[in-house]
C-alpha cells in the first residue's frame, strides 16, 4: 500500500486517508456543528445542507452528523493514501476517479493512489463528500494540526472556529468505521425542477410588524434574486424594490436564527445560513421554514426565489 505514514502506526482512529490535490473554490470540513452555545456567542454552524450531509454519511455507514467535506461550486480533488470508501451527495454532479466518471450519490471505493474529483454542479451550490469512518481532523500542508473545537470540526467562517478552508497538500484523517455498510449503495439525487424559481415557505416574524402591509405582500408576491454576495453566513437578495418599514427607530440587538430574512435599512433582505451571527440589529420580517433550509443552502448567485407563506 502506498501513502503509509507514521500516524497510521498510532492506530486507525486518525490515519491520513485523503490528501488534497486541489481544494476547489471553497471546501471546508463540516459536521453537525455546535448547537447550544449561543449564549457564548457561538453559532451552530455545521453543514449548510444537513440532509445532503446525512445522506452522504448513510451511504458509507457513518453516523448522520459525522464530519464530511463541504465543497462550493465543485472541487475538491483528493488522492487516496489507502483504500477508502467515499460518497458524494448534494446536487447531482460529475464525480470522477482518475478521470473516469463514476457518478454522485453512490458508494465509491478508492484504491490507494487514486484521485477522486468532484465537478461543479450544474444546479445548486454545495456538495458533500463523506469518508467511511468520518473525517476526524486536518493535518495542514503547513504543519498545522486541526482537531475538533467545542466538540465539532465545523469551520465557522464568522467566528473563526474550526480548520481553515482546505488547501492543496492538506491531509484528512479519518476514524474507524462504526457500523456495517448499509445494503443500499446508491440513493436518488434530488429531482427538483430547476427551470423556475426556488420556492421557499416562510413563517412571519418575529419583526414583521416593523414593516408595511405592502412590504409583506412584496416579500411573498415578488420574485427575488440571489446576488453574488452569498456565502455560508448568508445570501443577499435583490428584488423588485426594497421592503419598507412601517416604523422608525433602531432594533436593540437580538438573537438571530438560521433562515431568518433580516432586512437592513436598504430594504433588501439577507437570508441567514449556517454561519449567521448569533445576534443582529436589523429586524427579521420572516424566517424560512425548517424543512426548506437545505434548499436555501443550495441557492447560488443568480438563482430566483419565491417566498410563500401559509395562512
Amino acid at each position: 500500500m502506498t501513502g503509509t505514514d507514521g500516524a497510521e502506526g498510532e492506530g486507525a482512529a486518525h490515519d491520513g486517508c485523503l490528501e488534497v490535490e486541489e481544494p476547489g473554490p471553497f471546501t471546508t470540513v463540516q459536521d453537525g456543528g455546535r448547537p447550544g452555545l449561543g449564549a457564548l456567542g457561538v453559532g451552530r454552524s455545521g453543514a449548510a445542507d444537513r440532509a445532503a450531509m446525512a445522506a452522504a454519511n448513510r451511504l458509507v455507514g457513518n453516523p448522520e452528523r459525522a464530519a464530511v467535506l463541504e465543497s462550493t461550486m465543485g472541487g475538491p480533488a483528493v488522492r487516496a493514501r489507502r483504500p477508502v470508501m467515499i460518497a458524494v451527495t448534494g446536487p447531482a454532479t460529475v464525480v470522477e476517479v482518475d478521470g473516469t466518471a463514476v457518478g454522485s450519490h453512490c458508494r465509491v471505493l478508492l484504491r490507494a493512489g487514486q484521485v477522486l474529483s468532484v465537478g461543479a454542479p450544474p444546479h445548486g451550490l454545495r456538495n458533500y463528500l463523506a469518508v467511511r469512518g468520518g473525517v476526524t481532523g486536518v493535518r495542514g500542508a503547513d504543519g498545522s494540526v486541526h482537531g475538533p473545537e467545542l466538540d465539532s470540526l465545523a469551520t465557522d467562517v464568522l467566528s473563526g472556529l474550526g480548520p481553515p478552508a482546505l488547501r492543496a497538500g492538506d491531509v484528512l484523517t479519518a476514524g474507524r468505521a462504526a457500523a456495517p455498510l448499509p445494503s443500499a449503495d446508491l440513493i436518488p439525487p434530488d429531482r427538483a425542477a430547476h427551470t423556475g424559481p426556488v420556492r421557499l415557505p416562510v413563517v412571519w416574524g418575529p419583526r414583521d410588524d416593523w414593516f408595511t402591509d405592502g412590504a409583506r405582500r412584496l416579500l411573498v408576491g415578488g420574485e427575488w434574486t440571489v446576488t453574488p454576495d452569498a456565502d455560508r453566513v448568508g445570501a443577499r437578495l435583490h428584488g423588485p424594490e426594497g421592503l419598507r418599514r412601517a416604523r422608525g427607530g433602531e432594533l436593540a440587538p437580538e438573537s438571530m436564527v438560521t433562515g431568518a430574512l433580516q432586512v437592513p435599512a436598504d430594504g433588501l433582505p439577507v437570508l441567514f445560513l449556517a454561519d449567521h451571527p448569533v445576534t443582529g440589529g436589523y429586524p427579521v420580517i420572516a424566517v424560512v421554514r425548517g424543512a426548506a433550509l437545505d434548499a436555501a443552502a443550495q441557492l447560488r448567485p443568480g438563482d430566483r426565489v419565491v417566498f410563500t407563506a401559509a395562512g
Partner: protein, 263 residues
C-alpha cells in the same frame, strides 16, 4: 396570567413595550421579549436566562440573552411549539416579577442573576442548593487605547478620570454576541457613554477594551470594530479548550483593574 395562546403573554396596556411577548422565530425558536426599560438591557432578561438554566424541558437546545429579548431554540421533533411557548411565558412572568422585586430600579444592576435564583426557589421549582454568588472576573488593563483622548474629549473627563470611572464600578455581562467570547458589559459609570467611532476600524487587536453607548467590552480576537478603544488586557477572553471557553458569560460580573504606567 401566563397563558401562551397568543403573542401577548401577560396582560397590560394596549400598546406593546410594557408586557412580555413570545414571538415566533421560525419553526424551532421563539423570541421572548421583555418590557422596555430606560437601561441598555431589559431587567428581566438575565433572571429569565438564569431561571431557564435550572428548569429546562428536554428538547430545548439554547437560551440566548440579548438586550430586550431572550431567544429559546428547541428541537421541534422533541417538544411541541406550544409547550415551549407555555414554558417561556411562565418563566418570563416569574423573571419579570423577580426583576421588579429586585432592587426596585430599572437599571442594569437589577439584572443580577441572584434575584432569579431567589425567585425560582420561591416558586418551588428549584428546591436545590442556594444560588451561588455571581462570579466576578477581574481584568487587568493597560489604559493605552488609541481613543482615550477622544473619549476624554467626548466626556469632558481627564484621561485619569476616564480610567477611574471605568475601574470604579463593577460591570455585568448582559449578553454576548458579535464574536465568541465577546460580552456586552453594562452597569458601568454612566458618564462613560460615548458614541461609536464614525468610521469603524478594519482591524481591532485582540484584547482591546472598548466603549460604545452604555456598553463596555473586550475584543476576544482580531476583528473589525467601531468601539472607542481605551486600553488593552492580556486576559484570555476565549479559549475553546477551556472548560468554560468564554471568560465573560452572561451574568458574570467584571471589574477592570488599572495595570502599568499612567496614561
Amino acid at each position: 396570567m401566563g397563558t401562551a395562546d397568543g403573542r401577548h403573554v401577560s396582560g397590560g396596556h394596549n400598546d406593546g413595550g410594557d408586557r412580555v411577548r413570545v414571538l415566533a422565530a421560525g419553526d424551532d425558536a421563539v423570541l421572548v421579549e421583555f418590557p422596555d426599560s430606560d437601561g441598555p438591557v431589559a431587567p428581566a432578561v438575565l433572571p429569565f436566562v438564569a431561571a431557564a438554566a435550572h428548569d429546562r424541558p428536554p428538547g430545548v437546545v439554547d437560551v440566548i440573552p440579548a438586550a430586550r429579548t431572550a431567544a429559546v431554540t428547541y428541537r421541534a421533533e422533541k417538544i411541541a411549539a406550544h409547550a415551549v411557548r407555555e414554558w417561556c411565558a411562565d418563566l418570563a412572568v416569574r423573571a419579570t416579577s423577580a426583576a421588579a422585586a429586585g432592587t426596585g430600579t430599572a437599571g442594569a444592576e437589577t439584572a443580577g442573576a441572584e434575584t432569579a435564583g431567589a425567585e425560582t426557589a420561591g416558586a418551588g421549582t428549584a428546591g436545590g442548593p442556594a444560588e451561588p454568588a455571581p462570579e466576578e472576573v477581574v481584568l487587568p488593563v493597560v489604559y493605552d487605547g488609541p481613543d482615550l483622548d477622544a473619549v476624554s474629549a467626548a466626556t469632558g473627563l481627564s484621561k485619569d478620570e476616564v480610567i477611574d470611572a471605568h475601574t470604579g464600578t463593577a460591570w455585568t455581562v448582559a449578553f454576548t454576541g458579535f464574536a465568541p467570547g465577546f460580552g456586552y458589559l453594562v452597569g458601568g459609570d454612566p458618564r462613560l457613554a460615548v458614541p461609536r467611532r464614525t468610521t469603524p476600524r478594519t482591524r481591532v487587536p485582540a484584547g482591546s477594551v472598548g466603549l460604545a453607548g452604555p456598553f463596555s467590552g473586550v475584543y476576544p480576537r482580531p476583528s473589525p470594530g467601531g468601539w472607542q478603544l481605551i486600553g488593552t488586557t492580556a486576559a484570555e477572553l476565549w479559549q475553546p479548550r477551556r472548560d468554560a471557553p468564554a471568560l465573560l458569560a452572561p451574568g458574570v460580573r467584571v471589574r477592570f483593574e488599572r495595570q502599568g504606567p499612567a496614561a
